[in-house]
């Protein structure tokens, strides 16, 4: 401390550089994308499952934006996934609007709109109240669908949807190769958007709200507006994930609104690590691969494996799997220094 006091100018320079460079891409960030591309070549027969993993990554990523960065706790994030899923589902089944990419935009707008309206009312509350209200939102949407099962297809859903070839050229194939690349491309675009937001001054303000909302009010931040903005964006992204879910599966049922779906995405994100962007990748991939593995190993007891994994995660990785890596990295760099 005493030694560094004399080096005012370098300390200043170092601090400024840290902030100025923080948003730059690091080499390690290429890793998840390289893995995703490698999977395409190594497991050509598992592309449908691969697409589902990528969809869940996107869903978890949208949750990270509001939970990990803005600190909004929600148990109703499936509401937006569901709205997106049903937007393209209903458009295809009832309006014969089967062009996939314009469907994604429609889903984003519809889910974003629902996010904006519900967020405007709900985001005045925090903690348990907010938890209950978000949960109620998803249930209300689900029951609305159930009430008008003549339109939504109820719990039987909308089966056997067909979509137009991508860009009018690439048709759906049996193993889902096209859709895997399609979902991966959309995920890359969405990830880029989220990454920009997270490192923007707006993203900084979100972490401020997460860390101390009283202080944010005191420095003049329009907290409610910031929360509604990010909630709307996250809802739109969840909607896109839902739309991709419908498009890759070619069917959709009201179970997309299930509490299960909201809870699962939260578990995935926490497992991977919140507020880190890549936590969504790690968490969703590991959860789904293990779920797939356990359910083949023991079709009756597979949930035991998932439960055990969660217990282990809570005990040994309270800040998620990425948190463990981070700690290990810090440990190594400290050893190097001493």
């Amino acid at each position: 401390m005493a030694a560094s006091k004399t080096t005012g100018a370098p300390a200043r320079e170092r601090a400024a550089n840290y902030l100025a460079k923080r948003h730059r891409f690091r080499l390690a960030e290429a890793l998840p994308w390289l893995i995703a591309i490698a999977v395409f070549f190594i497991f050509p027969t598992r592309m449908t499952f691969g697409s589902q993993v990528l969809v869940m990554v996107m869903f978890a990523l949208s949750l990270d934006l509001i939970l990990g960065y803005a600190g909004i706790v929600t148990l109703g994030h499936a509401a937006f996934f569901g709205v997106g899923a049903y937007t393209v589902g209903l458009a295809a089944a009832r309006l014969e609007w089967t062009e996939p990419i314009s469907g994604l935009f429609a889903a984003a707008i519809a889910a974003g709109l629902v996010g904006f309206i519900t967020g405007w009312f709900l985001l005045r509350y925090r903690g348990l109240t907010l938890l209950m209200l978000t949960l109620a939102t998803a249930i209300l949407l689900q029951e609305t669908g159930n009430l008008r099962s003549d339109i939504s297809g109820g719990y039987d859903g909308l089966p056997g949807l067909t979509f137009k070839p991508l860009l009018g050229m690439f048709d759906y194939d049996l193993y889902g190769h096209t859709y895997y690349l399609y979902v991966l491309a959309v995920l890359a675009v969405v990830f880029y958007l989220v990454r920009r937001i997270v490192y923007s001054p707006f993203g900084q303000a979100l972490t401020g709200i997460r860390e101390n909302v009283r202080r944010m009010h005191a420095i003049g931040s329009p907290v409610h507006r910031r929360l509604v903005t990010v909630y709307t964006i996250a809802a739109a992204i969840a909607g896109v994930a839902g739309a991709l879910f419908t498009q890759t599966n070619a069917y959709v049922t009201l179970t997309v609104f299930d509490f299960d779906n909201s809870a699962k995405v939260m578990v995935m994100l926490i497992l991977g690590g919140t507020g880190r962007l890549y936590g969504a990748f790690v968490g969703a991939a590991i959860y789904m691969v293990l779920e797939d593995y356990f359910s083949k190993l023991s079709p009756t007891f597979w949930q035991f494996g998932i439960g055990l994994m969660l217990v282990l995660a809570v005990l040994f990785a309270p800040r998620g799997i990425l948190g463990v890596f981070e700690r290990f990295g810090n440990y190594l760099s400290e050893r190097k220094r001493s």
């Binding site: 200043r12 923007s200 707006f202 101390n212 005191a218 003049g220």
Partner: protein
């Protein structure tokens, strides 16, 4: 000249308990005013009413002559009303520098931007570091706030208030919780504040109060007991009886 801050007949009660009773208070531009009173006199409540964290049941608050009674807390902050908290309210999981950049960003409306990288505006970072330098916090710039000793966290609290470029600054016991060996550092900072800023300080240490303040307001049971210059307050027998005598000249402060 319009006063920087004017409080008129402010009233607030919690249930049946009146905590602020018809309080009048005026801060001229560049004022150095102290608010003293025994524990539970309603000093922090008054600050909360002025900043908008609490709504008054009646009365008005004027900032530079404009009625802000109906304005939100954030709106008041944007108009130049800053405060520090009796108990630190900081972004504990962020670095000291980020705490400051965020404040500058919110002040200038930068935080409405979702696309530009936060670190790409060198001016914001330089200004933030400027505040840290003035409080000798530069070496801690990249540390997380929660890793700092409490006394240095108190300085961050003040740095944030300064970064808001306030015209009126309310300091709620700036040296509270800091060991007396370090409190002089904070009080030096307070003494060196820009003379254009109107400052209201809540403080228990009477040495500080008498050295810093040009006017003193004594609050007892939610009402203004008396107002005057330090000399008048020091010689006021009733004040001695209700406050100074009771707590001793040093003002043994707790909580």
């Amino acid at each position: 000249m319009t006063a920087a801050l004017q409080v008129e007949k402010l009233k607030r009660s919690f249930g049946a308990l009146p905590v602020t009773r018809d309080v009048d208070l005026t801060l001229e531009r560049g004022a150095r005013c102290a608010l003293i009173g025994p524990n539970g006199a309603g000093k922090t409540t008054l600050v909360n009413l002025i900043t908008g964290a609490l709504k008054p049941q009646s009365g008005r608050v004027l900032l530079n002559g404009e009625d802000i009674t109906a304005s939100s807390q954030a709106e008041r902050a944007r108009r130049g009303l800053a405060r520090t908290f009796q108990i630190n309210q900081l972004f504990r999981g962020l670095t000291v520098l980020e705490n400051l950049c965020m404040t500058v960003g919110e002040r200038d409306g930068d935080c409405n931007n979702l696309w530009r990288a936060a670190g790409s505006k060198r001016g914001v970072i330089d200004e933030a570091i400027g505040y840290l330098e003035s409080l000798r916090l530069t070496d801690d710039a990249l540390k997380l706030v929660r890793e700092l000793p409490y006394g240095r966290q108190r300085l961050v609290e003040i740095a944030i208030a300064l970064a808001q470029k306030p015209r009126v600054l309310l300091l709620d016991e700036p040296a509270a919780g800091v060991p007396s060996s370090e409190s002089h550092l904070i009080l030096d900072v307070v003494a060196a504040l820009d003379p254009d800023i109107a400052v209201l300080i809540i403080e228990h240490d009477m040495d500080v109060v008498f050295r810093f303040a040009k006017e003193i307001t004594v609050l007892v049971q939610g009402a203004v007991f008396t107002q005057g210059t330090p000399a008048e307050i020091m010689n006021n027998e009733q004040v001695r009886a209700v406050y100074l005598g009771q707590e001793g000249h040093r003002g043994g402060h707790h909580g």
